[in-house]
Symmetry: C3
Subunit: 269 residues, 3 copies
Amino acid sequence: MASSSSYQFGTALRDIRATAPLIHNIANLVVTNVTANALLALGASPAMVENAEEVAEIAAIAGAVVINLGTISSSWAAAMRLAAASAQQAGTPWMLDPVAVGALGYRTRLAVELLEAHPAVIRGNASEIMALAGQSAGGKGVDSLAASDAAIDAAKDLAHRYATVVTVSGAIDYVTDGRRLAGIGNGHPIMSRVTGMGCTASALTGAYLAVLDDPFDAAVQAMATMGVAGDIVMANGGAKIGPGSFQTAFLDALYHLDGAMIAALVKLT
Amino acid sequence: MASSSSYQFGTALRDIRATAPLIHNIANLVVTNVTANALLALGASPAMVENAEEVAEIAAIAGAVVINLGTISSSWAAAMRLAAASAQQAGTPWMLDPVAVGALGYRTRLAVELLEAHPAVIRGNASEIMALAGQSAGGKGVDSLAASDAAIDAAKDLAHRYATVVTVSGAIDYVTDGRRLAGIGNGHPIMSRVTGMGCTASALTGAYLAVLDDPFDAAVQAMATMGVAGDIVMANGGAKIGPGSFQTAFLDALYHLDGAMIAALVKLT
Amino acid sequence: MASSSSYQFGTALRDIRATAPLIHNIANLVVTNVTANALLALGASPAMVENAEEVAEIAAIAGAVVINLGTISSSWAAAMRLAAASAQQAGTPWMLDPVAVGALGYRTRLAVELLEAHPAVIRGNASEIMALAGQSAGGKGVDSLAASDAAIDAAKDLAHRYATVVTVSGAIDYVTDGRRLAGIGNGHPIMSRVTGMGCTASALTGAYLAVLDDPFDAAVQAMATMGVAGDIVMANGGAKIGPGSFQTAFLDALYHLDGAMIAALVKLT
């Protein structure tokens, strides 16, 4: 297990704000606005491009690429294949968010296929990660039916097999590269009542991938950023807060956050 | 006309929160985030899936399906046909939101075709319901040019012909199954200055359809939920409120709402 | 340079609210909700229609058409061509928002092609306007790398060549018809940390185009409306504001704005 002092929280966030890395997202119809705003609030420069005519061009020049399976059809799937291949060829780190994999057959097959293009990080909930590792966990649409610690073995297995980093989101977020394992215990249950928080975690992981060499470090810092921002919102908002005001205040928190706040508030195990 | 005591407002809402029914939405590009968030705030589990490759699979396992005509093209239309057919075959209740029907020819023909797959509820504004019933009312894009009571006869006619329940949104929301008629007088004009409130009403109707056997009851409770949540926002917000803060506070209100509040505040006629 | 007294700010805004002109938008996946809400908050009636089957029909009956290149694929591009041609044939004023033109080849070629259908106004950031005028300015995805005044010559050149009005967004917004030049110095840097503010400026330009005969006047009033609304939000919000609360308060400000406030606060140069 890692300790807070292993991570230079301030440095990476300052680098994101200083260089505003271009993060190419193939997001989905539900969250494309939300994830673009989260990246802007943090200090990155999002490009939401999902058409097959342009994805290869932008994936090659981006600081990182985030491929989210939330919306897929044959044309989106084609764009995902092109973007992943272009990122791999250009050496751009890319990450995979396997939304609802396991629950639906078409996207499960697509996700397994995309793994061959070597994502730097994979982030999903327990059901998604277990399904991607070939375990049957059951998911209900996009929501997990299993707790995050149930997926730690599956995450390690995936990380080993594909030489990648795997993040399992949940009450505790786990990050592993197969060897190292970090748990981040921040955040609040209301975050599961706001659509796109998982996709936002993936987008922020993309921002950190663009400024850090170690994908494990990037994944941990992204989840710490998410969780601490959520804690700040709940600490300021009290009992009156609901999913609407949470969403608004969360973007504000990302904007005002600095490395010292993350280092002070992160609950690493 | 129905009285408030006919409805068990608390029971259905508690069931939604206890079971988190999976609501499959073919929403539209404008409101897919908004309606997903409204369903999550209420306590349901939204799945926003609109690709032809997956809609039949998810419609068959969902608690209810919501088909919204806001965004249509030949590929979306194909997905709508598949989802409606799959829901009908699986016995999943589904509802139709005929956005802008009457104003545009392509979607008007599609809506009439979808009626053959027996929606449990149809919800639209007066122009849309009158157009769907074959009356010429005129609509300006997605906004109605007629008051809701002008469409009561059209609603009853549609309900009779297709053995369905019809909701007409407006200053007063009317719900009819051809025999029964309920009016819900809650809500506020500012709701017409926030995009997607009608679509949200349809999504919440889907959530109630998943836990109630009687589609008329589900439609009434959904409109009561919408209207009472709107009233709570306006009561708390005062003159300073605008469409931005309304939207945020509305999600909070859905999250904090309980059956006793609905029963106390609903204006049934 | 123009003075504030040249513009009848109150009249046009009152006309928008009195007639609620139908504004047909081919927006993009990131901002379609945001721009629809901004148009509703201002008092216009947005129709977000981007499918090839319907765009010609609605462009012909709209008060103005807004074509935004944020999301393009072969099918969206086809719809854009149809909408622009239909608007031109019907005499409906239309405007072009060349999002990320210059940064990506496919959309750059499409934008140049669409210019042949005579847009009434073109609005973009400095990089986009310079690229559209054939100058190489460099852009990073959707964000400009150049200040707005660097694009004034390119804007004048474009305006001359295509007999149109060009708006360059930036710290100062410039509007020119090749002969006249106005600068609007309102607004705040935080607006570049909220996705879709540029697209919103284009949408509001559409609303003003629907009620004013002079596209130069429409473009100036739209940018004044944007900037003054932003100033009001920042004046009320103080240091605590972030991109989330800004977005919410901005819609409220558009809703409560009147012509006297714009005339009093606009910084024209």
